[in-house]
Subunit: 203 residues, 2 copies
DNA sequence: ACATCAATTCGCCAGTTGTGGAGTTTCGTT
DNA sequence: AACGAAACTCCACAACTGGCGAATTGATGT
C-alpha cells in the first residue's frame, strides 16, 4: 500500500550535509518526539523508522545510532508514560472527601501533558499486551493502598480509561470539546462512588 | 523485524494440491475468521495477508481472489462489529427502570459473541479513526432517542468502553475473570445514574 | 461429451522495511 | 596540535509486503 511518504518537519528535500553539526542539534530529542507522535498516530507496526526519521529531520541511521533498534526506540519514546501509577498515588492517598474529583483531575491532567499523553496514546494504539498503560492504571488504582475493595477501584479505572479513550484517542467531539474542569465535574461522582463504597461527599 | 512465520491452523507444511477442491471447502469463511483473529491480535498494519492465509490454511492469492485487497478484507472481516448501535437500541428504548443493567448486559453480550467481539477488537486495535466502534457506541448511546441529556449518555458509553477494553482487550485478570452477570451487576448502578439523571431504581 | 465458470495454487514483481557497514565532520580532551 | 569519541549521512542488503498474471483442477449446465 504505497504511501506518499512523510513530509519532514525539518526535511525540505535538500540534501543535508554529512558529518557532525556545530553546536547542540537536539537531534536525539527530536527523534524521541517524532517517534512518540508517529507511534501514537499509527501504532508500533504502522510507524516506520523512515517516517520517524523524516519527521525528525534526520537520517534513519541516526535512530539506530542512538537507540539501536525500533523496539528500543519505542521503549525510550514511551518511557514518559510508563509510570502512570506514581502520578496518581498522591490523589489516591488523600482524604476520601472529594477523592473522585481529585483522581479524575490528576488522571486527565496526565493525558494533557504533551509528552505523557503522546506516550500513552502510543502505548494504547500499539496494543502493548503486558505492562501497558491500561493495565498499569487499572492495577495502580486497584491495589493502591491495600484497601478492602480493589475490584471496585479497578472499575473506577475502567471508567477513566474509557473517558481518556473517547477524549484523546477517538477524539469524540462530545467529550473532546469539553473543558477540563467541566469533564472532571461530570465524571467525579461516578468515580467517587466506586472509590468510597457509601456514596457520600460530592465531587 | 523477521517473524518466524505463522504456523497455519490447517497448514501442515505439505504442499496443498492445486485446483478446486471437491465439496464445500468453507475457505471463504475460514479466511474471514482468520482475518478477524489476526487483525484483532496485531492490528491492521501488523497483520499480514500471508499470516492470515496461513492461519486459514489457504494460499494468499485466494484472499485476493475473494476480497480484492487487504483493506477490503478488513472491511469484510469487521462488518459484524459495524452496527453496535442497532444491537443496543432495544435495551436503550425500554423502560427507565433497570436500564443500566439492561444496557450493560446487552453491550457486554455483544463483545462475548465470538464474531462480533473479534471484529470489535480488530477495529479498536487498528485504531480506525472515524466510524470506529468506539465512536459508534458513544454516539449511539448519546443520541439514541433525542433525550435531553446526550452528554451524560455518552459518558455512560465511555464507562462501558473502558470496561470492555479492560475485559476483552487488555484482559486484566480482575475484570476478565468476573462472571458476566457479576460484572453487569457491578457496573449497572453507574450506568443507570448516567442514563437517568435522578439515581432511582437499582440494578 | 463438451464448454463454461469458480476455486485454488504457483511464481513473480516492484516497493518497503529494519538493519548494518563505511565514510565524513565536529566536539572534547590532552 | 593531535587524537579519540561522538554525531551524522550515504549506500546496500536481505527479508518481507501487497498485488498480479497464469496455470491447474474440479463443478455445473447443456
Amino acid at each position: 500500500m504505497g504511501g506518499t511518504g512523510e513530509a519532514g518537519r525539518r526535511g525540505d528535500g535538500a540534501r543535508r550535509p554529512v558529518g557532525r553539526r556545530p553546536g547542540e542539534s537536539g537531534s536525539r530529542d527530536a527523534i524521541l518526539a517524532a517517534a512518540r507522535d508517529t507511534f501514537a498516530e499509527r501504532g508500533f507496526a504502522g510507524a516506520t523508522m523512515r517516517a520517524i526519521a523524516a519527521r525528525a529531520g534526520v537520517d534513519p541511521s541516526l535512530i539506530r545510532h542512538f537507540f539501536g533498534s525500533k523496539a528500543a526506540l519505542f521503549a525510550a519514546a514511551v518511557a514518559a508514560g510508563s509510570d502512570v501509577a506514581s502520578h496518581l498515588r498522591d490523589a489516591l492517598t488523600g482524604p476520601r472527601d472529594g477523592i473522585g474529583a481529585r483522581v479524575a483531575d490528576a488522571y486527565l491532567r496526565l493525558w494533557e501533558d504533551p509528552e505523557v499523553g503522546e506516550a500513552l496514546r502510543a502505548l494504547i494504539r500499539s496494543g502493548v499486551a503486558l505492562g501497558g498503560p491500561a493495565e498499569q492504571l487499572l492495577e495502580a488504582i486497584g491495589a493502591s493502598d491495600g484497601a478492602p475493595l480493589p475490584l471496585e477501584r479497578v472499575l473506577a479505572g475502567t471508567h477513566l480509561l474509557g473517558v481518556a479513550y473517547a477524549r484523546f484517542i477517538a477524539q469524540l467531539p462530545a467529550v473532546a470539546a469539553l473543558d477540563h474542569d467541566e469533564l472532571v465535574e461530570l465524571i467525579a461522582p461516578a468515580i467517587q462512588r466506586y472509590l468510597v463504597p457509601d456514596g457520600a461527599s460530592r465531587g
